[in-house]
Symmetry: C2
Subunit: 289 residues, 2 copies
Amino acid sequence: MKVIKDRETLDGWLEECNRQGDEVGFIPTMGALHAGHLSLVAEAQKSCSKTIVSIFVNPTQFGPGEDFAQYPRTFTEDRAKLEEVGCDAVFLPSTETVYPPGGQTFIRVEPLASQLCGASRPGHFQGVATVVSILLNLVRPRRAYFGVKDYQQFTLIKQMVRDLAMAVEVVGVAIVREQDGLALSSRNSYLTAVEREQATALYRALTAAKTLYQDGESDSKILEDSARQVLLAAGIEKIDYVEVRHSETLVKEWSGQTPVMLIAAKVGKTRLIDNMLLNQETAINEGNG
Amino acid sequence: MKVIKDRETLDGWLEECNRQGDEVGFIPTMGALHAGHLSLVAEAQKSCSKTIVSIFVNPTQFGPGEDFAQYPRTFTEDRAKLEEVGCDAVFLPSTETVYPPGGQTFIRVEPLASQLCGASRPGHFQGVATVVSILLNLVRPRRAYFGVKDYQQFTLIKQMVRDLAMAVEVVGVAIVREQDGLALSSRNSYLTAVEREQATALYRALTAAKTLYQDGESDSKILEDSARQVLLAAGIEKIDYVEVRHSETLVKEWSGQTPVMLIAAKVGKTRLIDNMLLNQETAINEGNG
Protein backbone atom coordinates (compact mmCIF):
# COMPACT_ATOMS: atom_id res chain seq x y z
CA MET A 1 0.00 0.00 0.00
CA LYS A 2 1.31 3.39 -1.03
CA VAL A 3 1.57 5.90 1.83
CA ILE A 4 1.13 9.44 0.46
CA LYS A 5 1.82 12.53 2.52
CA ASP A 6 1.97 15.41 0.07
CA ARG A 7 0.25 16.80 -2.99
CA GLU A 8 3.08 16.03 -5.41
CA THR A 9 3.20 12.34 -4.48
CA LEU A 10 -0.59 12.20 -4.69
CA ASP A 11 -0.55 13.78 -8.16
CA GLY A 12 2.06 11.24 -9.27
CA TRP A 13 -0.02 8.33 -7.99
CA LEU A 14 -3.17 9.71 -9.67
CA GLU A 15 -1.33 10.20 -12.96
CA GLU A 16 -0.21 6.58 -12.82
CA CYS A 17 -3.84 5.50 -12.17
CA ASN A 18 -4.94 7.65 -15.09
CA ARG A 19 -2.31 6.16 -17.41
CA GLN A 20 -3.46 2.67 -16.51
CA GLY A 21 -7.13 3.56 -17.06
CA ASP A 22 -7.96 2.95 -13.39
CA GLU A 23 -11.15 4.25 -11.81
CA VAL A 24 -10.31 5.64 -8.40
CA GLY A 25 -12.60 5.14 -5.39
CA PHE A 26 -11.99 7.50 -2.46
CA ILE A 27 -12.87 7.13 1.21
CA PRO A 28 -12.21 10.26 3.28
CA THR A 29 -11.88 9.46 7.01
CA MET A 30 -10.58 10.91 10.26
CA GLY A 31 -8.80 7.61 11.05
CA ALA A 32 -9.44 5.46 14.15
CA LEU A 33 -10.67 2.98 11.59
CA HIS A 34 -13.24 0.32 12.47
CA ALA A 35 -15.28 -2.22 10.53
CA GLY A 36 -17.58 0.57 9.32
CA HIS A 37 -14.70 2.28 7.52
CA LEU A 38 -13.47 -1.04 6.15
CA SER A 39 -16.93 -1.70 4.71
CA LEU A 40 -16.52 1.56 2.74
CA VAL A 41 -13.24 0.24 1.35
CA ALA A 42 -14.92 -3.05 0.44
CA GLU A 43 -17.74 -1.18 -1.30
CA ALA A 44 -15.22 0.91 -3.26
CA GLN A 45 -13.33 -2.22 -4.28
CA LYS A 46 -16.50 -3.63 -5.84
CA SER A 47 -16.72 -0.89 -8.49
CA CYS A 48 -13.32 0.84 -8.62
CA SER A 49 -9.99 -0.61 -9.71
CA LYS A 50 -8.02 1.53 -7.25
CA THR A 51 -9.01 2.61 -3.73
CA ILE A 52 -7.50 5.39 -1.65
CA VAL A 53 -8.35 6.27 1.96
CA SER A 54 -7.49 9.65 3.44
CA ILE A 55 -6.87 10.07 7.16
CA PHE A 56 -7.15 13.66 8.32
CA VAL A 57 -8.57 14.84 11.63
CA ASN A 58 -10.10 18.04 10.31
CA PRO A 59 -9.80 20.89 12.82
CA THR A 60 -12.46 23.08 11.16
CA GLN A 61 -15.30 20.66 11.89
CA PHE A 62 -14.68 20.65 15.65
CA GLY A 63 -16.13 23.48 17.71
CA PRO A 64 -14.53 25.07 20.79
CA GLY A 65 -14.76 22.60 23.67
CA GLU A 66 -15.26 19.63 21.35
CA ASP A 67 -12.94 16.62 21.19
CA PHE A 68 -10.41 17.63 18.51
CA ALA A 69 -7.37 17.13 20.77
CA GLN A 70 -8.79 13.97 22.32
CA TYR A 71 -9.98 12.40 19.03
CA PRO A 72 -8.27 8.98 18.70
CA ARG A 73 -5.22 8.91 16.42
CA THR A 74 -4.20 5.33 15.75
CA PHE A 75 -2.23 5.41 12.52
CA THR A 76 -0.18 2.26 13.04
CA GLU A 77 -3.31 0.18 13.55
CA ASP A 78 -5.18 2.03 10.78
CA ARG A 79 -2.41 1.30 8.31
CA ALA A 80 -2.31 -2.40 9.20
CA LYS A 81 -6.09 -2.67 8.74
CA LEU A 82 -5.96 -0.98 5.34
CA GLU A 83 -3.04 -3.19 4.21
CA GLU A 84 -4.99 -6.25 5.27
CA VAL A 85 -8.08 -5.39 3.19
CA GLY A 86 -5.97 -4.60 0.14
CA CYS A 87 -6.46 -0.82 0.01
CA ASP A 88 -4.14 0.63 -2.67
CA ALA A 89 -3.13 3.92 -1.07
CA VAL A 90 -3.53 5.98 2.08
CA PHE A 91 -3.33 9.76 1.97
CA LEU A 92 -2.13 11.44 5.17
CA PRO A 93 -2.05 15.15 4.41
CA SER A 94 -0.62 17.67 6.85
CA THR A 95 -2.85 20.52 8.00
CA GLU A 96 -0.79 22.85 5.74
CA THR A 97 -1.49 20.64 2.71
CA VAL A 98 -5.25 20.79 3.28
CA TYR A 99 -5.32 24.37 4.56
CA PRO A 100 -2.39 26.40 3.23
CA PRO A 101 -1.86 29.45 5.48
CA GLY A 102 -3.96 32.49 4.61
CA GLY A 103 -7.05 30.54 3.56
CA GLN A 104 -10.33 32.49 3.35
CA THR A 105 -12.71 30.13 1.58
CA PHE A 106 -15.62 28.27 3.15
CA ILE A 107 -18.55 26.38 1.70
CA ARG A 108 -22.03 26.84 3.12
CA VAL A 109 -24.94 24.49 2.51
CA GLU A 110 -27.98 26.20 3.97
CA PRO A 111 -30.45 25.46 5.47
CA LEU A 112 -29.24 21.83 5.58
CA ALA A 113 -26.15 22.70 7.64
CA SER A 114 -27.84 24.65 10.42
CA GLN A 115 -30.34 22.08 11.65
CA LEU A 116 -30.12 18.75 13.56
CA CYS A 117 -26.43 18.28 14.44
CA GLY A 118 -25.69 21.69 12.93
CA ALA A 119 -27.93 23.41 15.46
CA SER A 120 -25.82 22.24 18.40
CA ARG A 121 -22.53 22.25 16.51
CA PRO A 122 -22.37 25.67 14.77
CA GLY A 123 -19.75 25.71 12.01
CA HIS A 124 -19.42 21.91 12.03
CA PHE A 125 -20.95 21.31 8.60
CA GLN A 126 -19.22 24.32 7.07
CA GLY A 127 -15.99 22.59 8.15
CA VAL A 128 -17.18 19.26 6.74
CA ALA A 129 -18.32 20.70 3.39
CA THR A 130 -15.10 22.66 3.00
CA VAL A 131 -12.71 19.83 3.86
CA VAL A 132 -14.60 17.29 1.73
CA SER A 133 -14.54 19.71 -1.19
CA ILE A 134 -10.78 20.23 -0.75
CA LEU A 135 -10.10 16.49 -0.47
CA LEU A 136 -12.28 15.73 -3.51
CA ASN A 137 -10.40 18.38 -5.50
CA LEU A 138 -7.05 16.95 -4.40
CA VAL A 139 -7.93 13.30 -5.11
CA ARG A 140 -10.37 13.83 -8.05
CA PRO A 141 -11.89 10.33 -7.68
CA ARG A 142 -14.54 8.74 -9.89
CA ARG A 143 -16.55 7.82 -6.78
CA ALA A 144 -16.40 8.84 -3.11
CA TYR A 145 -17.81 6.69 -0.29
CA PHE A 146 -19.45 7.89 2.91
CA GLY A 147 -21.06 5.96 5.75
CA VAL A 148 -24.73 6.79 6.24
CA LYS A 149 -24.12 6.57 9.99
CA ASP A 150 -23.40 10.30 9.55
CA TYR A 151 -26.67 10.68 7.69
CA GLN A 152 -26.84 14.47 7.69
CA GLN A 153 -23.23 14.67 6.55
CA PHE A 154 -23.97 12.22 3.73
CA THR A 155 -27.04 14.22 2.66
CA LEU A 156 -25.12 17.50 2.79
CA ILE A 157 -22.24 16.16 0.71
CA LYS A 158 -24.62 14.81 -1.94
CA GLN A 159 -26.29 18.24 -2.00
CA MET A 160 -22.97 20.09 -2.31
CA VAL A 161 -21.66 17.83 -5.06
CA ARG A 162 -24.88 18.28 -6.99
CA ASP A 163 -25.08 22.05 -6.45
CA LEU A 164 -21.43 22.69 -7.38
CA ALA A 165 -21.54 20.19 -10.29
CA MET A 166 -18.52 18.36 -8.90
CA ALA A 167 -17.46 15.51 -11.18
CA VAL A 168 -17.74 12.68 -8.64
CA GLU A 169 -20.35 10.08 -7.75
CA VAL A 170 -21.24 10.10 -4.04
CA VAL A 171 -22.00 6.63 -2.68
CA GLY A 172 -23.61 5.99 0.71
CA VAL A 173 -22.74 2.81 2.57
CA ALA A 174 -24.87 1.08 5.23
CA ILE A 175 -24.24 1.41 8.96
CA VAL A 176 -22.22 -1.40 10.52
CA ARG A 177 -23.44 -2.35 14.00
CA GLU A 178 -22.19 -4.36 16.95
CA GLN A 179 -24.12 -7.56 17.73
CA ASP A 180 -26.23 -5.63 20.24
CA GLY A 181 -27.09 -2.94 17.68
CA LEU A 182 -24.70 -0.13 18.63
CA ALA A 183 -23.58 1.64 15.45
CA LEU A 184 -19.80 1.51 15.07
CA SER A 185 -18.14 4.88 15.77
CA SER A 186 -14.63 5.97 16.58
CA ARG A 187 -16.15 7.81 19.54
CA ASN A 188 -17.44 4.55 21.10
CA SER A 189 -13.94 4.22 22.52
CA TYR A 190 -14.77 7.07 24.93
CA LEU A 191 -17.55 5.03 26.61
CA THR A 192 -17.20 3.38 30.03
CA ALA A 193 -18.59 -0.16 30.41
CA VAL A 194 -21.81 1.18 31.93
CA GLU A 195 -22.20 3.81 29.21
CA ARG A 196 -21.46 1.19 26.54
CA GLU A 197 -24.46 -0.77 27.81
CA GLN A 198 -26.66 2.35 27.93
CA ALA A 199 -25.63 3.26 24.39
CA THR A 200 -27.50 0.30 22.92
CA ALA A 201 -30.69 2.25 23.64
CA LEU A 202 -30.15 4.35 20.49
CA TYR A 203 -30.58 1.29 18.29
CA ARG A 204 -33.50 0.04 20.38
CA ALA A 205 -35.17 3.46 20.16
CA LEU A 206 -34.86 3.48 16.37
CA THR A 207 -36.16 -0.07 16.13
CA ALA A 208 -39.14 0.76 18.35
CA ALA A 209 -40.07 3.67 16.09
CA LYS A 210 -39.62 1.57 12.99
CA THR A 211 -41.92 -1.13 14.33
CA LEU A 212 -44.54 1.50 15.12
CA TYR A 213 -44.18 3.01 11.64
CA GLN A 214 -44.46 -0.37 9.98
CA ASP A 215 -47.59 -1.02 12.05
CA GLY A 216 -49.14 2.04 10.39
CA GLU A 217 -48.19 5.01 12.58
CA SER A 218 -47.25 8.05 10.48
CA ASP A 219 -47.32 10.90 12.98
CA SER A 220 -43.76 12.18 13.46
CA LYS A 221 -44.43 13.27 17.02
CA ILE A 222 -45.75 9.87 18.10
CA LEU A 223 -42.84 8.08 16.43
CA GLU A 224 -40.35 10.46 18.05
CA ASP A 225 -41.97 10.09 21.46
CA SER A 226 -41.77 6.31 21.27
CA ALA A 227 -38.02 6.51 20.59
CA ARG A 228 -37.52 9.13 23.29
CA GLN A 229 -39.20 6.81 25.84
CA VAL A 230 -36.65 4.10 25.09
CA LEU A 231 -33.75 6.50 25.55
CA LEU A 232 -35.12 7.88 28.83
CA ALA A 233 -35.83 4.39 30.15
CA ALA A 234 -32.14 3.59 29.59
CA GLY A 235 -31.14 6.67 31.58
CA ILE A 236 -30.15 8.73 28.53
CA GLU A 237 -31.45 12.19 29.42
CA LYS A 238 -29.21 14.51 27.42
CA ILE A 239 -31.10 14.04 24.17
CA ASP A 240 -30.04 16.54 21.53
CA TYR A 241 -32.74 15.53 19.06
CA VAL A 242 -34.99 12.68 18.00
CA GLU A 243 -36.48 13.56 14.62
CA VAL A 244 -38.31 11.91 11.75
CA ARG A 245 -37.41 13.58 8.45
CA HIS A 246 -37.67 13.16 4.68
CA SER A 247 -34.84 10.76 3.88
CA GLU A 248 -33.63 12.61 0.78
CA THR A 249 -33.83 16.25 1.85
CA LEU A 250 -34.10 16.04 5.67
CA VAL A 251 -37.05 18.46 5.64
CA LYS A 252 -39.70 17.86 8.32
CA GLU A 253 -42.45 17.15 5.78
CA TRP A 254 -42.07 13.55 4.57
CA SER A 255 -45.66 12.46 4.01
CA GLY A 256 -45.80 9.83 1.27
CA GLN A 257 -41.98 9.67 1.12
CA THR A 258 -39.44 7.48 2.88
CA PRO A 259 -38.90 8.73 6.43
CA VAL A 260 -35.61 8.48 8.29
CA MET A 261 -35.36 8.78 12.07
CA LEU A 262 -32.27 10.56 13.35
CA ILE A 263 -31.06 10.59 16.96
CA ALA A 264 -28.29 12.52 18.70
CA ALA A 265 -27.76 12.13 22.43
CA LYS A 266 -25.05 12.29 25.04
CA VAL A 267 -24.21 9.07 26.83
CA GLY A 268 -22.09 10.26 29.73
CA LYS A 269 -19.92 12.90 28.11
CA THR A 270 -19.90 11.25 24.69
CA ARG A 271 -22.18 12.54 21.97
CA LEU A 272 -23.48 9.66 19.84
CA ILE A 273 -25.60 9.74 16.70
CA ASP A 274 -27.57 7.05 14.90
CA ASN A 275 -30.35 6.80 12.33
CA MET A 276 -32.62 4.38 10.52
CA LEU A 277 -34.83 4.39 7.45
CA LEU A 278 -38.23 3.50 8.87
CA ASN A 279 -39.56 1.71 5.81
CA GLN A 280 -36.86 -0.90 5.45
CA GLU A 281 -36.35 -4.37 6.84
CA THR A 282 -33.05 -3.52 8.50
CA ALA A 283 -31.21 -6.31 10.26
CA ILE A 284 -28.04 -5.52 12.18
CA ASN A 285 -25.12 -5.25 9.74
CA GLU A 286 -27.40 -4.85 6.77
CA GLY A 287 -28.12 -1.27 7.51
CA ASN A 288 -29.57 1.70 5.74
CA GLY A 289 -27.55 2.08 2.58
CA MET B 1 -17.36 26.55 -33.56
CA LYS B 2 -19.33 24.10 -31.46
CA VAL B 3 -22.33 25.64 -29.69
CA ILE B 4 -23.01 23.74 -26.46
CA LYS B 5 -26.16 24.24 -24.40
CA ASP B 6 -26.32 21.32 -21.97
CA ARG B 7 -24.13 19.27 -19.70
CA GLU B 8 -24.27 16.07 -21.79
CA THR B 9 -23.06 17.83 -24.95
CA LEU B 10 -20.34 19.55 -22.92
CA ASP B 11 -19.20 16.23 -21.44
CA GLY B 12 -19.06 14.74 -24.94
CA TRP B 13 -16.96 17.63 -26.24
CA LEU B 14 -14.62 17.41 -23.23
CA GLU B 15 -14.22 13.65 -23.68
CA GLU B 16 -13.27 14.23 -27.29
CA CYS B 17 -10.69 16.85 -26.18
CA ASN B 18 -9.37 14.39 -23.63
CA ARG B 19 -9.08 11.60 -26.19
CA GLN B 20 -7.10 13.87 -28.48
CA GLY B 21 -4.80 14.96 -25.64
CA ASP B 22 -6.01 18.56 -25.88
CA GLU B 23 -5.42 21.08 -23.10
CA VAL B 24 -8.58 23.09 -22.63
CA GLY B 25 -8.49 26.83 -21.91
CA PHE B 26 -11.71 28.30 -20.49
CA ILE B 27 -13.00 31.88 -20.51
CA PRO B 28 -16.17 32.38 -18.41
CA THR B 29 -18.06 35.52 -19.47
CA MET B 30 -21.46 37.18 -19.20
CA GLY B 31 -21.46 37.85 -22.95
CA ALA B 32 -21.71 41.33 -24.52
CA LEU B 33 -18.24 40.53 -25.76
CA HIS B 34 -15.71 43.25 -26.55
CA ALA B 35 -12.00 43.36 -27.38
CA GLY B 36 -11.18 42.71 -23.71
CA HIS B 37 -12.92 39.34 -23.83
CA LEU B 38 -11.32 38.53 -27.17
CA SER B 39 -7.90 39.23 -25.67
CA LEU B 40 -8.68 36.48 -23.12
CA VAL B 41 -9.42 34.09 -25.98
CA ALA B 42 -6.16 35.08 -27.69
CA GLU B 43 -4.25 34.51 -24.46
CA ALA B 44 -5.86 31.07 -24.05
CA GLN B 45 -5.01 30.16 -27.63
CA LYS B 46 -1.31 30.83 -26.90
CA SER B 47 -1.05 27.99 -24.40
CA CYS B 48 -4.09 25.73 -24.87
CA SER B 49 -4.96 23.59 -27.89
CA LYS B 50 -8.71 24.07 -27.36
CA THR B 51 -10.56 27.16 -26.12
CA ILE B 52 -14.10 27.35 -24.81
CA VAL B 53 -15.99 30.51 -23.81
CA SER B 54 -19.07 30.37 -21.59
CA ILE B 55 -21.78 33.01 -21.80
CA PHE B 56 -24.02 33.11 -18.74
CA VAL B 57 -25.52 36.22 -17.16
CA ASN B 58 -25.33 34.99 -13.59
CA PRO B 59 -28.35 36.11 -11.54
CA THR B 60 -26.73 35.44 -8.15
CA GLN B 61 -24.06 38.10 -8.57
CA PHE B 62 -26.57 40.91 -9.15
CA GLY B 63 -28.15 42.54 -6.12
CA PRO B 64 -31.71 43.84 -5.87
CA GLY B 65 -31.96 47.03 -7.94
CA GLU B 66 -28.87 46.19 -9.98
CA ASP B 67 -28.85 45.76 -13.76
CA PHE B 68 -29.53 42.02 -14.20
CA ALA B 69 -32.56 42.53 -16.46
CA GLN B 70 -30.92 45.39 -18.34
CA TYR B 71 -27.51 43.70 -18.78
CA PRO B 72 -26.76 43.55 -22.54
CA ARG B 73 -27.49 40.19 -24.19
CA THR B 74 -26.02 40.13 -27.69
CA PHE B 75 -25.57 36.48 -28.54
CA THR B 76 -25.67 36.77 -32.33
CA GLU B 77 -22.85 39.31 -32.30
CA ASP B 78 -20.96 37.42 -29.57
CA ARG B 79 -21.05 34.23 -31.60
CA ALA B 80 -19.79 35.95 -34.75
CA LYS B 81 -16.89 37.50 -32.82
CA LEU B 82 -15.90 34.15 -31.32
CA GLU B 83 -16.12 32.41 -34.71
CA GLU B 84 -13.89 35.09 -36.17
CA VAL B 85 -11.10 34.65 -33.63
CA GLY B 86 -11.21 30.88 -33.98
CA CYS B 87 -12.68 29.95 -30.61
CA ASP B 88 -13.43 26.20 -30.56
CA ALA B 89 -16.61 26.11 -28.50
CA VAL B 90 -19.14 28.33 -26.77
CA PHE B 91 -21.08 27.09 -23.75
CA LEU B 92 -24.51 28.67 -23.22
CA PRO B 93 -25.95 26.96 -20.18
CA SER B 94 -29.51 27.58 -19.04
CA THR B 95 -30.08 28.81 -15.48
CA GLU B 96 -31.31 25.30 -14.60
CA THR B 97 -28.06 23.75 -15.85
CA VAL B 98 -25.96 26.03 -13.65
CA TYR B 99 -28.39 26.11 -10.73
CA PRO B 100 -30.59 23.00 -10.63
CA PRO B 101 -33.71 23.76 -8.53
CA GLY B 102 -33.32 23.21 -4.79
CA GLY B 103 -29.72 24.40 -4.58
CA GLN B 104 -28.38 25.30 -1.14
CA THR B 105 -24.63 25.68 -1.64
CA PHE B 106 -22.68 28.93 -1.63
CA ILE B 107 -18.99 29.70 -1.45
CA ARG B 108 -17.71 32.46 0.79
CA VAL B 109 -14.27 34.02 0.52
CA GLU B 110 -13.91 36.24 3.57
CA PRO B 111 -12.74 38.90 4.27
CA LEU B 112 -11.84 39.41 0.60
CA ALA B 113 -15.47 39.36 -0.54
CA SER B 114 -16.85 41.93 1.87
CA GLN B 115 -14.60 44.89 1.08
CA LEU B 116 -14.19 47.30 -1.88
CA CYS B 117 -16.91 46.34 -4.41
CA GLY B 118 -18.22 43.77 -1.93
CA ALA B 119 -19.01 46.48 0.60
CA SER B 120 -21.48 48.21 -1.71
CA ARG B 121 -22.62 45.01 -3.47
CA PRO B 122 -23.45 42.56 -0.65
CA GLY B 123 -23.66 38.99 -1.93
CA HIS B 124 -22.01 39.89 -5.24
CA PHE B 125 -18.77 37.98 -4.67
CA GLN B 126 -20.55 35.03 -3.09
CA GLY B 127 -22.44 34.82 -6.38
CA VAL B 128 -19.23 35.17 -8.38
CA ALA B 129 -17.30 32.57 -6.37
CA THR B 130 -20.18 30.11 -6.55
CA VAL B 131 -20.85 30.44 -10.27
CA VAL B 132 -17.16 30.31 -11.19
CA SER B 133 -16.75 27.21 -9.06
CA ILE B 134 -19.75 25.56 -10.78
CA LEU B 135 -18.52 26.51 -14.25
CA LEU B 136 -14.99 25.28 -13.48
CA ASN B 137 -16.43 21.98 -12.25
CA LEU B 138 -18.56 21.64 -15.38
CA VAL B 139 -15.78 22.51 -17.84
CA ARG B 140 -12.76 21.14 -15.87
CA PRO B 141 -10.25 23.15 -17.91
CA ARG B 142 -6.47 23.07 -17.60
CA ARG B 143 -6.43 26.87 -17.42
CA ALA B 144 -9.07 29.57 -16.87
CA TYR B 145 -8.66 33.17 -17.99
CA PHE B 146 -9.96 36.29 -16.27
CA GLY B 147 -9.52 39.96 -17.10
CA VAL B 148 -7.76 41.94 -14.37
CA LYS B 149 -10.16 44.81 -15.09
CA ASP B 150 -12.24 43.05 -12.41
CA TYR B 151 -9.21 43.00 -10.15
CA GLN B 152 -10.96 42.04 -6.93
CA GLN B 153 -12.82 39.27 -8.74
CA PHE B 154 -9.55 37.97 -10.19
CA THR B 155 -7.88 38.04 -6.75
CA LEU B 156 -10.86 36.31 -5.15
CA ILE B 157 -10.95 33.54 -7.75
CA LYS B 158 -7.20 32.90 -7.37
CA GLN B 159 -7.75 32.72 -3.60
CA MET B 160 -10.71 30.32 -3.93
CA VAL B 161 -8.92 28.03 -6.38
CA ARG B 162 -5.90 27.89 -4.09
CA ASP B 163 -7.94 27.38 -0.90
CA LEU B 164 -10.15 24.66 -2.37
CA ALA B 165 -7.23 23.00 -4.20
CA MET B 166 -9.11 23.18 -7.48
CA ALA B 167 -7.14 21.57 -10.31
CA VAL B 168 -6.98 24.58 -12.63
CA GLU B 169 -4.47 27.31 -13.36
CA VAL B 170 -5.96 30.82 -13.05
CA VAL B 171 -4.51 33.28 -15.55
CA GLY B 172 -5.02 37.04 -15.34
CA VAL B 173 -5.06 39.03 -18.56
CA ALA B 174 -4.28 42.75 -18.94
CA ILE B 175 -6.96 45.43 -19.23
CA VAL B 176 -7.79 46.52 -22.77
CA ARG B 177 -8.45 50.27 -23.06
CA GLU B 178 -9.93 52.64 -25.58
CA GLN B 179 -7.49 55.12 -27.15
CA ASP B 180 -8.47 57.69 -24.51
CA GLY B 181 -7.77 55.26 -21.69
CA LEU B 182 -11.29 54.08 -20.78
CA ALA B 183 -11.14 50.41 -19.77
CA LEU B 184 -13.38 48.26 -21.98
CA SER B 185 -16.53 47.10 -20.18
CA SER B 186 -19.86 45.74 -21.32
CA ARG B 187 -21.42 48.43 -19.11
CA ASN B 188 -19.82 51.26 -21.15
CA SER B 189 -22.78 50.82 -23.49
CA TYR B 190 -24.98 52.42 -20.80
CA LEU B 191 -23.06 55.74 -21.00
CA THR B 192 -24.40 58.83 -22.74
CA ALA B 193 -21.93 60.81 -24.89
CA VAL B 194 -21.30 63.27 -22.06
CA GLU B 195 -20.81 60.49 -19.53
CA ARG B 196 -18.52 58.67 -21.96
CA GLU B 197 -16.26 61.73 -21.95
CA GLN B 198 -16.42 62.03 -18.14
CA ALA B 199 -15.56 58.36 -17.77
CA THR B 200 -12.03 58.88 -19.08
CA ALA B 201 -11.31 60.49 -15.71
CA LEU B 202 -10.94 57.05 -14.12
CA TYR B 203 -7.90 56.29 -16.26
CA ARG B 204 -6.51 59.78 -15.76
CA ALA B 205 -6.98 59.47 -12.00
CA LEU B 206 -5.07 56.18 -11.93
CA THR B 207 -2.31 57.61 -14.11
CA ALA B 208 -1.99 60.67 -11.87
CA ALA B 209 -1.55 58.44 -8.82
CA LYS B 210 0.95 56.25 -10.64
CA THR B 211 3.05 59.23 -11.64
CA LEU B 212 3.05 60.44 -8.03
CA TYR B 213 4.02 56.96 -6.80
CA GLN B 214 6.81 56.67 -9.31
CA ASP B 215 8.06 60.09 -8.20
CA GLY B 216 8.51 58.63 -4.72
CA GLU B 217 5.16 59.14 -2.94
CA SER B 218 4.24 56.08 -0.84
CA ASP B 219 1.45 57.39 1.41
CA SER B 220 -1.83 55.68 0.42
CA LYS B 221 -3.89 58.66 1.50
CA ILE B 222 -1.94 61.16 -0.62
CA LEU B 223 -2.07 58.85 -3.65
CA GLU B 224 -5.80 58.32 -3.18
CA ASP B 225 -6.45 62.05 -2.76
CA SER B 226 -4.62 62.81 -5.98
CA ALA B 227 -6.82 60.37 -7.88
CA ARG B 228 -9.96 61.62 -6.18
CA GLN B 229 -9.13 65.19 -7.27
CA VAL B 230 -9.06 64.10 -10.91
CA LEU B 231 -12.45 62.39 -10.60
CA LEU B 232 -14.04 65.37 -8.87
CA ALA B 233 -12.58 67.79 -11.43
CA ALA B 234 -14.34 65.73 -14.14
CA GLY B 235 -17.63 66.03 -12.27
CA ILE B 236 -17.60 62.45 -10.96
CA GLU B 237 -18.93 62.85 -7.44
CA LYS B 238 -20.45 59.46 -6.67
CA ILE B 239 -17.15 57.85 -5.80
CA ASP B 240 -17.60 54.43 -4.20
CA TYR B 241 -13.92 54.02 -3.36
CA VAL B 242 -10.43 55.03 -4.38
CA GLU B 243 -7.98 52.72 -2.63
CA VAL B 244 -4.35 51.70 -2.79
CA ARG B 245 -3.92 48.07 -1.75
CA HIS B 246 -1.44 45.19 -1.72
CA SER B 247 -1.68 43.83 -5.26
CA GLU B 248 -1.65 40.14 -4.24
CA THR B 249 -3.92 40.12 -1.19
CA LEU B 250 -5.78 43.46 -1.43
CA VAL B 251 -4.99 44.21 2.24
CA LYS B 252 -4.43 47.87 3.08
CA GLU B 253 -0.83 47.32 4.18
CA TRP B 254 1.38 47.15 1.08
CA SER B 255 4.63 48.75 2.25
CA GLY B 256 7.54 47.28 0.30
CA GLN B 257 5.16 45.35 -1.97
CA THR B 258 3.56 46.15 -5.29
CA PRO B 259 0.59 48.50 -4.78
CA VAL B 260 -2.52 48.48 -6.93
CA MET B 261 -4.93 51.40 -7.05
CA LEU B 262 -8.60 50.46 -7.41
CA ILE B 263 -11.43 52.82 -8.27
CA ALA B 264 -15.20 52.36 -8.34
CA ALA B 265 -17.46 55.31 -9.16
CA LYS B 266 -20.80 56.08 -10.72
CA VAL B 267 -20.77 58.04 -13.94
CA GLY B 268 -24.37 59.06 -14.33
CA LYS B 269 -26.23 55.93 -13.27
CA THR B 270 -23.51 53.56 -14.48
CA ARG B 271 -21.10 52.08 -11.95
CA LEU B 272 -17.63 51.75 -13.46
CA ILE B 273 -14.49 50.17 -12.02
CA ASP B 274 -10.86 50.40 -13.03
CA ASN B 275 -7.45 49.71 -11.51
CA MET B 276 -3.74 49.99 -12.13
CA LEU B 277 -0.56 48.53 -10.72
CA LEU B 278 1.35 51.62 -9.61
CA ASN B 279 4.85 50.24 -10.14
CA GLN B 280 4.56 49.38 -13.82
CA GLU B 281 5.16 51.21 -17.03
CA THR B 282 1.62 50.76 -18.30
CA ALA B 283 0.80 52.04 -21.74
CA ILE B 284 -2.79 51.87 -22.98
CA ASN B 285 -3.49 48.36 -24.26
CA GLU B 286 -0.49 46.90 -22.50
CA GLY B 287 -2.18 46.94 -19.18
CA ASN B 288 -1.75 45.35 -15.82
CA GLY B 289 -1.53 41.63 -16.50
